[in-house]
């Protein structure tokens, strides 16, 4: 039993190491940041912290770190659901941003998934293209 318990932190460390072993290239992050500064920063703020009560944070939320498809759909269709995020609700709407290109959406989502303390695998223009084709 004790041996198993000792293995758990080891596995966690290995998993973290594995996750970190896919670095996001600087060019992608720079392009993503440019899109963020133009379209996202007003509401989600310089630190990704959002605005309490108005605009949700991007830090370590399942929306940002979870399903790629759902996240891409938020960009394409906007968000107006008033759902709780960590016990808080947010009253502003997010307008659809489907005017952004596949590349811009991939870049900015990769940027937010790897900024503000986040760490998640990149989103590719191909991912966006696939979801866009299946999103009304």
């Amino acid at each position: 039993m004790k041996k198993v318990i000792f293995l758990i932190p080891l596995c966690v460390i290995m998993l973290m190491a594995f996750n970190n072993s896919i670095p996001i290239d600087k060019a992608t992050m720079d392009r993503g940041k440019k899109v963020y500064l133009q379209y996202c920063i007003a509401c989600h703020q310089v630190d990704g912290g959002g605005v309490p009560g108005l605009n949700p944070p991007l830090e370590k939320t399942p929306h940002v770190l979870g399903s790629k498809t759902k996240l891409i759909r938020i960009i394409l269709k906007g968000m107006d659901t008033h759902e709780e995020i960590d016990g808080e609700t947010y009253s502003n709407v997010m307008a659809p941003h489907n005017h952004l290109t596949d590349q811009q959406i991939a870049d900015v989502l990769t940027f937010i998934r790897n900024s503000f303390g986040n760490n998640a695998i990149a989103i590719t223009p191909g991912d966006v293209k696939y979801v866009r084709a299946r999103t009304k």
Binding site: D47, G49, V51, G53, V93, A95
Partner: protein, 429 residues
């Protein structure tokens, strides 16, 4: 081994049993403000501040009874309740008596002629008060207004009464600028803006009639995007309001940079007469050009003023996006003469100034004479945020939201981040 675990376990057990209540009592008994001078606030000479409580909940508007107790409207329930009645019974500068009632969240709360009035985000209630202005039946208020638009954005129902039995209620616009796609880049404005029928203005109802709906009320003023701060000026018997101006001019990047958006669209204070049209969503007040300008959603380019020439002009224009959440005309005798009948405004602080630094997070003052501003506005109480510079609103430790005047003339300020209640007094040395 067991010994060491007991303490944390016990603490956890207490927190699990009733986390909110225990924290409340713990915080209420803490020495208010600690050793921090003036509870961290910066004030003009002769004034001092203390924190009566530091975490009562999301404290929105507040009102003080003639015996010095406070009613606090909460925007998030604490133990299932949305109104607190708090008092410093032993006068040691901290709250020691907390009662709560009302099962709804909201912002508006006021006292008038023997009743406490409070709002949810779509209804208005009133509670009969006894001779000490204590609520007689906290669980059975009269519902006086129902069915108001609750569109999430700008859904708070601030309220004030006059001396003739009327109640004035803000019904904020559920949209930023009445676009076809709300907050959509380049999206055109709907013309005419359909929400103005039921929102984007101040409605007048009777204070003593039950279950009123829109058909029982009067649209007293229109073209107001969202008013959180409003007060009745008894010197001249008129309604004064202060509007949260529009956001995101830079959704039209061909005309506005992010920096221009951060600085141009003023927060406006109006004196309102019945029938006033203050211009939203067609017009906004450009603080740099000092005039009403046509909104880009309606063909504006930052310069055109067509269709804005006849609309109500502000009596004071404040910096863009600083978020006026409360307005109070000071009628007390404690503060120096300059403050008498002047207006205090609680600025909740901006978010729509990124990437510039945020502004606001203070209580401002406008001197008044005979119901008109008689000098420039100034910052009265600053330092709520607890940090030198706020880049992102989350960094602010406290944000002023409600204002009230005590029977002795002290000024109370509520904070809706942690729930501090500040008391500001003046001592003539």
């Amino acid at each position: 081994m067991r010994k060491y675990f007991c303490g944390p376990l016990l603490l956890m057990a207490i927190l699990v049993i009733d986390p909110v209540n225990d924290l409340l009592i713990f915080e209420a008994n803490k020495k208010p403000g600690g050793e921090i001078e003036n509870a961290g606030l910066k004030l003009p000479a002769g004034f001092s501040a203390s924190a009566l409580a530091d975490s009562v909940g999301r404290a929105r508007h507040i009102v003080v009874t003639k015996k010095g107790a406070l009613y606090v409207k909460l925007s998030k329930l604490v133990n299932g309740k949305g109104i607190l009645r708090i008092k410093d019974t032993d006068a040691d500068g901290k709250i020691d008596d907390i009662k709560s009632f009302g099962t709804y969240i909201g912002t508006g709360i006021t006292i008038k002629d023997g009743y406490l009035y409070a709002s949810s985000n779509d209804e208005i209630f009133r509670y009969k008060l006894d001779e000490n202005e204590e609520v007689i039946n906290p669980d059975s208020p009269e519902k006086i207004i129902t069915g108001l638009i609750n569109g999430r954005q700008h859904n708070t129902k601030s309220l004030v009464l006059d001396d003739k039995g009327n109640i004035y209620v803000n019904i904020g616009s559920p949209l930023n600028s009445c676009q076809e796609i709300d907050r959509g880049a380049g999206s055109k404005g709907k013309d005419p803006c359909p929400v103005l029928d039921s929102a984007g203005g101040i409605w007048q109802f009777k204070a003593d009639k039950l279950n009123q709906t829109y058909k029982d009320g009067v649209r007293y003023a229109t073209g107001l995007r969202n008013v959180m701060g409003l007060d009745w000026n008894y010197q001249i018997n008129e309604l004064f309001v202060i509007q949260h101006g529009r956001d995101q001019l830079d959704m039209f990047p061909e005309y506005f940079t992010a920096q221009q958006n951060a600085e141009i669209p003023a927060e406006e204070m109006f004196m309102i007469k019945k029938g006033a049209n203050c211009g939203w969503p067609y017009c906004y007040f450009d603080i740099q050009q000092n005039k009403k300008v046509l909104a880009p959603e309606y063909g504006g380019n930052g310069k055109k003023t067509t269709r804005c020439e006849g609309v109500e002009q502000p009596i004071v224009a404040f910096p863009a996006h600083v978020a006026p959440n409360a307005l109070l005309f000071y009628t007390g005798n404690m503060f120096p003469e300059k403050y008498k009948n002047g207006a205090f405004i609680a600025f909740h602080g901006s978010w729509n100034r990124s990437p510039e630094k945020q502004e606001g997070y203070y209580v401002a003052f406008v001197p008044f004479k005979d119901g008109k501003p008689s000098g420039p506005w100034e910052i009265f109480a600053d330092g709520f945020a607890g940090v030198e510079t706020v880049m992102s609103p989350k960094q602010a430790q406290h944000r002023p939201c409600g204002l009230a005047q005590g029977p002795d003339g002290a000024l109370y300020v509520s904070d809706d981040v942690k729930g501090a209640i500040y008391k500001i007094v003046y001592k003539n040395n």
